[in-house]
Amino acid sequence: MSRRVRLLVFLVGGGAVAVMFALAFLSMPHFGRPEHLYRDLAVPAAVRHATANVVSSVNFDQRAIDTFGEETILIASVVGTAALLRPAKEETERRVPDTGRTLGATRLVGYLLLPVSLVIGLDVVVHGQLTPGGGFQGGAVLATGLHLLYVSGSYPALDRLRPLELFDIADALGATTFAAVGLAGIAIAGSFLSNMVSFGTFGALFSAGTVPILNVAVGLEVFVGIVAILAKFLEQDITVVKEGDDG
């Protein structure tokens, strides 16, 4: 295909997409208008189940099955990364000397923020049914916080702090808990992931039925999942060497 024909094909395709995009955007509801159909249905449903954070109610109660699908995607990517990035036959793992130069300021900020971000992460997971955040956000904050150890210049310290065998089990545990809560919903209330635990008082820490349970399960899974994926990436970069090479 010559350059000219390629350009022509692109212009036809790109033009069609542009026209359809413009048409679609023109028939969309206006930006920032006060009436909102989905909100009018979701907010009362969340209040009925004593869930202060409506977003969590949508994610873990009203459309919990979507979140279950997302968790499955995450666990699939962890398994895929672990399978693809295992050391190949001609590669060996070596011990890493505790080297690397880090600016004193970076190290100080890293060590100061490490406990802070871990506490914030836990807080976000546990209060998912009350305040913005939840299992996914909290788990991601926890995983980021843990890697401050690496940024602060110590890969061996990070390596000691995350027993990866335990993490693999915890990942499966998080996913299994989610599925078990879903199956319990079938057994007790007749539908998968139905919110069958007592709702409690609106705004209390233990409220919203299954939402906090699912939040903790997802928080665990996201935290260990992201750490496991990044661990494989870090291993490839730091500890794995091809045989006959010194790095």
Partner: protein, 87 residues
């Protein structure tokens, strides 16, 4: 509110353009991380703090780190390949 919205949307546009025009992948990671940060600010302005939190953790921190590690591993491989070809 509207002025804030216009400002944060403009920031997202500027940062997005910076990602596209960054020449090398290593530089692109830095601008991509900044782009993630501006998106997080936009989500806060649009009153979506849940999404902003995910965006901040994943888009501004974890993704850039993964990309950086991937680039470094690839460069290591290419260097080893070159060394082998030379010897």
């Amino acid at each position: 509110m509207t002025a804030l919205l216009v400002l944060s949307l403009t920031l997202v546009g500027v940062a997005g353009t910076a990602v596209v025009v960054s020449a090398s992948p290593e530089r692109q990671v830095v601008t991509y991380s900044l782009f993630g940060l501006t998106l997080g600010v936009l989500f806060v302005v649009l009153q979506a703090p849940d999404v902003a939190l995910s965006q901040l953790a994943v888009g501004a921190a974890i993704m850039p780190m993964m990309i950086l590690l991937a680039i470094r591993t690839m460069q290591k491989d290419q260097k080893q390949q070159r060394d082998r070809d030379d010897s």
